[in-house]
């Protein structure tokens, strides 16, 4: 009897364990999971991933050889209606016509609900599975899960098969909702070496195991003659398989913030890339293992390096353009302008040419690679030392780890005595060293003719200026009339030119008027409109009725009028990711104010100055009264394109103090 009791006790314990602990196996949904009302660590979460497991296995089969099988399974808890989107899942896959074609299958898709204390399971039927052929290359398998309510637990799994083993997918441990447990395992035969790269703030725990596997080959031999004769033989090949397990737990949901270049840079995730292949009795084939070999590999691609060597298609045109031109700088500008005005960017990214430089030149349009490789080739042809620079755009994320897919863009660099000059011919208003904003993303990689490469800092160091001269009179009714002259350099000039030229002048002015307290603008003119190497200067006269306030017979005016910063863009309490301004800048205002006759200054804002630590930025506010004229000089300067999260509090306080100062009023009283 004793014995039996003990047994039943054990059984009870076992069952208890079953129901309280979470089991990371499809189908084993617990009542506790279904009963949970909110996420224990993030009560606002609309849904959470209770577990997600993925594996990438390279397996052998006789028909196809080595194939890559990716299997993913997940359990998701829906807490609120806003989490219903998680009941629709989709997998995008390659559906082109070559060996890289992928096959996707969903299985074990179920919704679990708690009905009167019992677990009710609803399976997905074929009417909830859809296959969308997006275009010639891509397709999307979609599912929508049945019977989803607040509190439901959803499970699904899918498998992707392909015979192109280089197409190992990235694994994101983190996403927009909390993830309790995320596991990723790779099974890789000794013949292949993958390099894996992790990014984000949370790193998974890694375990490595090796195990031996074998492949059974069946050989069929036929001997001919009058009667055919078939013999079978089998071969057994043993190999070592490396199993690598990555586990991360309790990952918080990612939150979007303003002034972040790309949130994916900070999401905890992992990339895998094939770096070496070594089969028995054959040579080692290496791919990218470090930035230098990545660059070399890319350079050797048919649609990259060789495209740089083609010159025939432009030689005649260039000869005519450069006749009599000797200065290297002039040559560079002429060539840049020639490419810009003759070949338009078709908005496609990539460092590989699509139709090739020759055809792009003839058809007058091409992708980024065609435009900037053509530019590089022309620069080289004219005798300059020019090389392509691989770039990862802001939308692509920072290129943290050496692999071929880290980059998606290419620009050109000219070597001079004073360092590199960077060029991009895809944007009308871009000039040497003032690149389209999309390219300003940490580091690029310059590749030379011999395949060697070097890191290039893409972040602008020189401040882009925005300098305003403002002169105005105030009349006793509070009406303001004056002139403004605004001069923008470098990046500010590029942005301003884009704004000006993207609309008709009339609309541009209407917008300017409405954005600036409904002033009325007249005598508007632009200087250096077309000479994009020079600063762009706008001048205009204005009148405004809403710029002063008359309170109790006194005139109150914000001296910077519509140029003052009114809102602190940094209003978040805490900051998760660095602030990205794109480029360093200086805003400077020289203001002359004439006060109306019969009035005198009652109060003036006091002069002030502040600087941030590490020379991050500074603000100066100077004011002086001279009879009925006031003179002011105000400057606001940020010296770094990127501000770290540690510096956020300081930056926020700086802006707060600056805005407080700029909103101080001058008070004028009747004499």
């Amino acid at each position: 009897m004793k014995c039996i009791k003990f047994f039943s006790f054990l059984l009870v314990l076992f069952i208890l364990n079953q129901t309280t602990a979470q089991e990371f196996k499809l189908g084993k949904v617990s009542v506790a999971e279904l009963e949970q009302k909110k996420h224990p660590k993030d009560s606002s979460a609309a849904a959470a991933i209770l577990y997600k497991k993925g594996s990438a296995t390279i397996d052998y089969n006789q028909q196809e050889g080595f194939v890559l099988i990716t299997h993913v399974e997940a359990r998701i808890k829906v807490y609120k209606k806003e989490g219903y989107d998680w009941a629709n899942q989709s997998v995008t896959y390659y559906n082109g016509s070559n060996d890289s074609r992928e096959k996707v299958d969903f299985s074990d898709v179920c919704t679990f609900n708690l009905v009167n204390g019992k677990i009710e399971k609803t399976k997905l039927k074929s009417d909830g599975i859809f296959n969308e052929e997006v275009n010639k290359y891509r397709a999307r398998k979609k599912i929508t899960m049945p019977n989803v309510k607040e509190g439901s637990v959803l499970e699904y799994s899918y498998t992707i098969r392909t015979s192109n083993i280089t197409m190992m997918r990235d694994w994101a441990f983190q996403t927009s909702i909390p993830v309790n447990y995320s596991e990723y395992v790779t099974y890789i035969p000794e013949y292949y070496t993958f390099s894996s790269r992790q990014k984000g703030y949370i790193f998974p725990k890694v375990t490595v195991n090796k195990q031996s596997r074998s492949i059974l080959f069946t050989n069929k031999e036929r001997s001919g003659g009058l009667s055919t004769h078939t013999t079978y033989s089998t071969d057994n090949v043993d190999y070592l398989e490396t199993q690598t397990i990555y586990i991360a737990e309790d990952l918080p949901g990612m939150k979007e913030e303003s002034f972040v270049n790309n949130i994916n840079n900070y999401t905890s995730s992992m990339e895998q890339e094939l770096s070496m292949v070594k089969f028995p009795n054959s040579q080692i084939k290496t791919f990218s293992t470090d930035w230098n070999s990545v660059a070399k590999t890319i350079y050797e691609y048919d649609d990259f390096g060789p495209e740089l060597n083609k010159t025939g298609y432009f030689e005649d045109d260039l000869k005519a353009l450069l006749a009599g031109v000797t200065s290297p700088e002039e040559k560079m500008l002429i060539i840049l302008n020639h490419v810009k005005s003759n070949v338009k960017w078709n908005e496609y990214y990539g460092y590989s040419c699509d139709k090739g430089v020759r055809k792009a030149y003839q058809e007058k349009s091409g992708n980024i690679a065609e435009i900037n490789l053509m530019l590089t080739a022309m620069l080289r042809h004219s005798g300059l030392t020019a090389n392509p620079v691989l770039v990862s755009t802001r939308s692509n994320g920072v290129a943290l780890f050496p692999n071929r897919t880290a980059y998606n863009y290419v620009i050109a660099a000219v070597e001079t005595e004073n360092g590199y000059i960077l060029l991009d011919a895809s944007e009308k208003f871009s000039i040497p060293n003032v690149l389209p904003l999309r390219t300003l993303n940490w580091q690029g990689r310059l590749i030379r003719k011999d395949g060697t490469s070097e890191e290039i800092d893409l972040m602008p160091k020189k401040a882009s200026n925005d300098i305003v001269f403002l002169t105005y009179n105030i009349d006793p009714e509070g009406k303001v009339t004056g002139q403004a002259r605004r001069q923008c350099t470098d990046y500010n000039a590029m942005i301003t030119r884009k704004n000006i030229f993207s609309t008709k002048e009339d609309e541009y002015l209407e917008k300017l008027e409405n954005q600036n307290n409904k002033i009325e603008i007249s005598d508007y003119s632009k200087t250096n409109e077309k000479e994009i190497l020079k600063p762009i200067i706008e001048t205009y006269s204005f009148t405004g009725n809403n710029l002063c306030e008359i309170i109790g017979g006194k005139i109150y005016v914000s001296p910077m009028l519509f140029f003052s910063n009114e809102k602190n863009p940094f209003n978040q309490e805490t900051r998760e990711y660095p602030v990205d301004f794109g480029f360093p800048f200086m805003d400077k205002y020289n203001i002359t104010i004439k006060i109306p006759d019969g009035y005198a200054v009652e109060t003036l804002p006091a002069p002030a100055a502040m600087t941030m630590q590490d020379n991050l930025g500074s603000f100066k506010f100077n004011i002086a009264a001279n009879e009925n004229t006031l003179q002011m000089v105000i400057s606001h300067q940020i010296n770094e394109a990127i501000v770290s999260t540690q510096q956020y509090e300081m930056l926020k306080d700086y802006y707060k103090a600056m805005i407080a100062k700029e909103s101080e009023k001058i008070v004028l009283k009747k004499i």
Partner: protein, 635 residues
């Protein structure tokens, strides 16, 4: 000397003659058409041949000269297709500014893509579209396409003017049809446009229009559909995805829709019926029963749109919705109807245009119209309308998506046109009650309760579903007039019975009062500053309209800092006019306390372009007074 001159002339002549062969040079465009235009439609011709009830062939020829990047979107060189609509021909030719051909784009060069977008999960609709990178501006594209379809329920509407900042040189519509299908048409907003009807017989209809000048967009304008000429067309005998239909009167049409499309879609498993009956219990009142069922549907279902074949028009079976717990507007409305049927409450599928901008089903033009479905429950000669795609809307609430418009209610005996619920301006309220204190350093701390009803309920109640970061961003935007805003405790009360949403918010902000020397200055109205920034428009052409009015009232207690005395207090202000009424009042109390009262009432209405500036000034005065500042001096 004469000979070279002659040669030169000859050379010129050949140039001219070869240019004449060229198509559509830019120089041939009149200056008036270039004004405000990003592109000019040189020719926009559609030839619709209705061959039979089941066969319609449409040829499109568009010639567009594009002046800049913004004009690219006017090319419209794309064609949708699916199982019932096939593309027989599609091609484009690009010409440079002089009219010399620079590129030919054949069918295989058009991109083929699935046309699944937005809230749709899956549809079998696909699109062929032109992806062309201009090598320079201006240029001209000639686009030709031909499609054939068996669906004659939808004859495309014809818009003479296809967009803003676009002018039209020539526009042609030709329609041919058999005289026994009951072809009909309705013309809208023709006046003021040079449109000629060249054929109008029992088998053909043709229009021509010339020189339509480009229009600019202007805020608060009615939709372009309500401003510019268009033609609606339809057949009394039509075909839709394998089903023949008739539409002579709304009654007929409604009957057809009920018999052919809806019939057989409301069957439910016995188990569900029993469950629903048990849920309703002894409740007798049909409205109360409907409330129980609406709540059940809201908890059970979610919105998923799958549009395949007739599924684009026919609701998914109620039994499928019951099993799967999802569906689109038709499926969920129909499912709710099936559940109501089970407890003997009648209800009717209702077809309408769902949009914030109020648009009607054209009541005098019987045809397939609308883009949305809701459910109508009749009681006491009225209807209660249920939005079945929402999991949050209170019972019978129509917010701003389906209110105040003509809709088609499909009854078993036939269709009828009905107006949906109108939310009166005075009922669209926001009532603010609260207080704030300013300390001697200008720091603000306060508390506010905001209660919203009527159409204001719809936008405010969404705050409840926001994530913490979104909620923070929302309030920092809502009170963007308060710098350095810090949010304290926020509580929501969503009273769905009375349709009132209350936000209870604690806030604080450093430096709200700006200190200059010994003075402190701040706007009295901290919590409800008028947000409508009415733009100055140099010479407005369109009429304007305010679709929904509202009434805001505020009563705020203000505690001023000790050690300061009031130097200036804004005076009471009142403004009355055709657009509405506005009033503020500040009452001084003992111990440095004030009470601030504000009320703002805006009428809905339609106004002429001439009244726009008057409206702008009305709103500007309000915004200026909302910004009126108090000045304190340190004792």
């Amino acid at each position: 000397m004469k000979i070279p001159c002659f040669a030169l002339l000859f050379f010129l002549f050949t140039l001219v003659s070869s240019a004449q062969k060229n198509t559509y040079p830019i120089t041939a465009i009149k200056d008036s058409l270039k004004e405000n235009a990003d592109a000019v439609v040189r020719l926009d011709q559609m030839d619709i041949a209705i061959v039979s009830q089941k066969n319609m062939n449409i040829k499109i020829q568009r010639v567009i000269s594009v002046f800049n990047e913004k004009g690219l979107s006017d090319i419209d060189a794309y064609q949708h297709y699916d199982k019932t609509t096939s593309i027989k021909n599609i091609e484009a030719i690009v010409y440079d500014a002089f009219g010399t051909e620079i590129k030919k784009i054949k069918r295989k060069d058009f991109r083929d893509q699935s046309a699944v977008s937005g809230s749709t999960l899956f549809s079998d609709n696909r699109v062929l579209y032109l992806d062309y990178t201009p090598v320079g501006y201006p240029f001209t594209i000639v686009y030709n396409s031909e499609t054939e379809t068996s669906n004659t329920a939808f004859i495309p509407q014809w818009y003479f003017l296809g967009g803003y900042y676009l002018s039209v040189e020539k526009c042609v519509l030709n329609v041919t049809f058999p005289n026994n299908l009951g072809f009909k048409k309705k013309e809208f907003h023709f006046s003021g446009f040079n449109i000629k009807k060249t054929i109008d017989t029992d088998t053909g209809l043709s229009y021509e229009a010339f020189n339509i000048l480009a229009r600019k967009t202007e805020d608060l304008s009615p939709s372009s559909r309500d401003l510019y000429p268009r033609i609606m067309m339809g057949l009394e005998k039509f075909h839709l995805e394998g089903v023949d239909g008739t539409a002579t009167t709304w009654e007929d049409f409604g009957k057809w829709y009920g018999d052919k499309i809806l019939t057989g879609t409301t069957e439910l498993p016995e188990e569900t019926k029993t469950k629903i009956k048990a849920l309703v219990g002894n409740e007798k009142d049909p409205v109360e029963k409907a409330k129980i069922i609406y709540d059940y549907v809201q908890k059970k279902s979610r919105y998923v749109n799958i549009a395949i074949g007739i599924g684009g028009w026919k609701p998914m079976l109620a039994s499928d919705v019951d099993r799967l717990g999802y569906g689109d507007c038709k499926a969920l409305s129909n499912y709710t109807k099936a559940l109501l049927q089970a407890v003997d409450v009648p209800s009717y599928n209702t077809i309408l245009y769902g949009d914030r901008y109020k648009s009607n089903i054209q009541s005098d033009f019987v045809s397939m119209q609308g883009n949305h479905m809701i459910l109508a429950i009749p009681h006491d000669d009225k209807y209660t309308f249920l939005e079945c795609t929402s999991q949050d809307d209170p019972f019978g609430y129509q917010g701003t998506f389906t209110d105040d418009r003509d809709v088609l209610v499909v009854k078993p005996e036939g269709g009828v046109i009905v107006r949906t619920k109108i939310y009166e301006d005075k009922g669209n309220t926001q009532i603010d009650k609260g207080n704030y204190s300013i300390d001697e350093n200008g720091n603000l701390s306060g508390h506010l309760s905001i209660a919203s009803e009527g159409s204001q309920y719809s936008s405010k109640s969404r705050t409840e579903t926001l994530q913490p970061t979104e909620k923070e961003a929302h309030y920092k935007e809502y009170w963007s007039n308060i710098n350095n805003l810090k949010l304290g405790k926020i509580t929501f009360t969503n009273d769905k019975q009375n349709i009132r949403f209350t936000e209870d918010v604690y806030v604080s902000a450093a430096n709200y009062g700006v200190i200059s020397a010994n003075k402190m200055i701040f706007p009295v109205d901290a919590f409800n500053q008028s947000k409508s920034n009415v733009k100055r428009i140099r010479s407005r052409k369109n009429p304007f309209q305010i679709q929904r009015g509202y009434l805001d009232t505020d009563e705020i207690e203000i505690n001023l800092p000790v050690g300061f005395s009031i130097e200036f207090l804004p005076s009471d202000f009142e403004l009355k006019g055709k657009f509405g009424e506005y009033k503020t009042e500040i009452i001084r109390k003992e111990n440095n306390k004030l009470t601030y009262k504000r009320s703002m009432f805006l009428n809905k209405g339609k106004y002429s372009n001439k009244e726009y500036d008057e409206y702008r000034l009305f709103m500007e005065q309000i915004s200026r007074n909302d910004n009126a500042k108090i000045i304190l001096t340190k004792n």
